[in-house]
Symmetry: C2
Subunit: 201 residues, 2 copies
DNA sequence: CCACTCATTGAGTATATACTCATTATATAT
DNA sequence: ATATATAATGAGTATATACTCAATGAGTGG
C-alpha cells in the first residue's frame, strides 16, 4: 500500500496529477488556437509528454475534449457570476459579459463555431455558460421593463437577440476584423450601444 | 474529332454531364443531411457511381465541395432576389427572407455551422448570399428610417442584429426544437415580431 | 465491321490519426 | 538493498479515407 492514505500526496501521485493537468492545459491552449480537431500527437508534443501518455490519462480523445470543456465551463461560469452578481443595470451587466468573453475569446470562439461537431457533453458546457448569463440578465432586464425604460418583450427574446448579435460577430470574425485581433475589443462598444438603443422605449 | 462541333451534344458528353450533375446533386443532399465532412465513398454510393468517378469529375473533394457551394449560392441568391425585389416594407422583406431560409434550411444550417472549417471559397458563397439580402434590406429599412417609423441606427447594425438572431436559432436548433423540425417554421414569426418591435420607435 | 477514344470502374496506394501494450524508469515498501 | 507497483514511453496496429491508374466497355468515325 502507499505510504500516504490520502490520495495525491505521494511524489508519484503528484507527478501523475501534474501530467494530467499539463495535458488539459495544453489541450485547452491548442484547441483555442487551432480548433478541436487537432491530432492527439500535436497535443502530446506541445505538452512535452509522450503520445501514449495522453491515453494513460484519458481513455479516448473524446474524454480529453470533454474534460477540457468541463474545466472551461467551470472557469468562465465562475468568472461570469463573479462579475455579474453586483450589476444593477443592463448596461453594466452586458459590459461585464463582453469583458469575460474577451478574456476567453479564442476558446469561446471555437466552442460556438464547432459546438455542433463536438461530443454531446459540449452542449452542457455551452448551455451552462448561457444559463449563468441568462440568470443575471433576466434579473436586471425585468426590473428595467417594470421601470418602463425597456420595451416589454419576453425576456428570453431580449436575451437571445443580444447573444445572437454577439455570436454573429464572433463567428464571422474573419469578415469583421483581422484574424488575430479581438472582435469584442473592436466592436464591443458598438454592439452594446446598438443593443441598448434597440431595447429602450 | 467529334461529330458535333458544339460541346455537350453527343451521347457521351451528355452522359458525362449527367454523371457530374448527379454527383453534385447527391453531394448537395448528403451535405445537407450529414454535414460537409462526409466521406467521398458515401457520396459515390448514394449517387450510384463508382468511387473513382468522383475524382474523374473533380480533382479533389475540396473542388466538389466548392462546386456544390457555388451552385447553392446561385440558387438561393436568385430565389432571394426574386422574392425580395418587390417588397415595400421591412416586414414583408423579412417574411420572404424567412421563407427562403426555410426552403433551404438544411443546407443553410450546414453552411453557417461549418463555414469556418470549409475551404476559403465557402466564404464567398456565404458573403454573396448575405449581400443579396443586405442590399434589399438597406433599401426598405432606410426608407422606414426616413419616414420615422424605425429607429435611426446604422443600417448594417440593424441588419446584423436580424441575421444574428436568425442564425442563433438555426445554429442552436437542437436546443430550440426537435432535431428534424424546421426551426424557422416554428419560431419564424416570433423572431420577426420581436425584431420589428425592437426596431420601431 | 474495325480501330479508336474516352467515360467509368474499383482494386490498390498513400497518408493521417486514434489507440495499444510490452518495455523502461522510478518511487515505494519491507 | 531488493522486490514490487506504477507512471511514462514510443514503436507498432488498426482503421478511415483521399486519391490513383490500369483495365473495361460503350460510343464514334471511317
Amino acid at each position: 500500500m502507499s505510504g500516504e492514505s490520502i490520495m495525491g500526496e505521494s511524489t508519484r501521485q503528484i507527478q501523475k496529477l501534474n501530467t494530467r493537468k499539463k495535458i488539459i492545459e495544453t489541450a485547452y491552449r491548442i484547441f483555442a488556437e487551432k480548433g478541436f480537431s487537432v491530432p492527439s500527437s500535436v497535443i502530446a508534443k506541445e505538452a512535452g509528454v509522450s503520445h501514449g501518455s495522453i491515453f494513460a490519462h484519458f481513455p479516448t480523445m473524446n474524454d480529453l475534449t470533454v474534460s477540457v470543456l468541463s474545466d472551461f465551463g467551470d472557469k468562465i461560469g465562475t468568472r461570469l457570476h463573479e462579475l455579474a452578481k453586483n450589476c444593477d443595470s443592463t448596461e453594466n451587466l452586458l459590459k461585464e459579459h463582453l469583458k469575460v468573453l474577451e478574456e476567453y475569446e479564442a476558446f469561446y470562439f471555437r466552442l460556438i463555431t464547432e459546438k455542433n461537431m463536438l461530443p454531446e457533453e459540449a452542449r452542457y458546457t455551452f448551455a451552462a455558460v448561457q444559463s449563468t448569463v441568462a440568470f443575471h440578465f433576466s434579473i436586471v432586464i425585468e426590473r428595467e421593463i417594470e421601470k418602463g425604460t425597456v420595451k416589454k418583450l419576453p425576456t428570453h427574446m431580449l436575451y437571445n437577440t443580444w447573444l445572437g448579435l454577439v455570436h454573429y460577430y464572433l463567428m464571422n470574425k474573419d469578415f469583421f476584423s483581422d484574424s488575430n485581433e479581438s472582435v469584442i475589443k473592436r466592436y464591443g462598444e458598438e454592439l452594446l450601444s446598438t443593443y441598448l438603443e434597440l431595447i429602450k422605449i
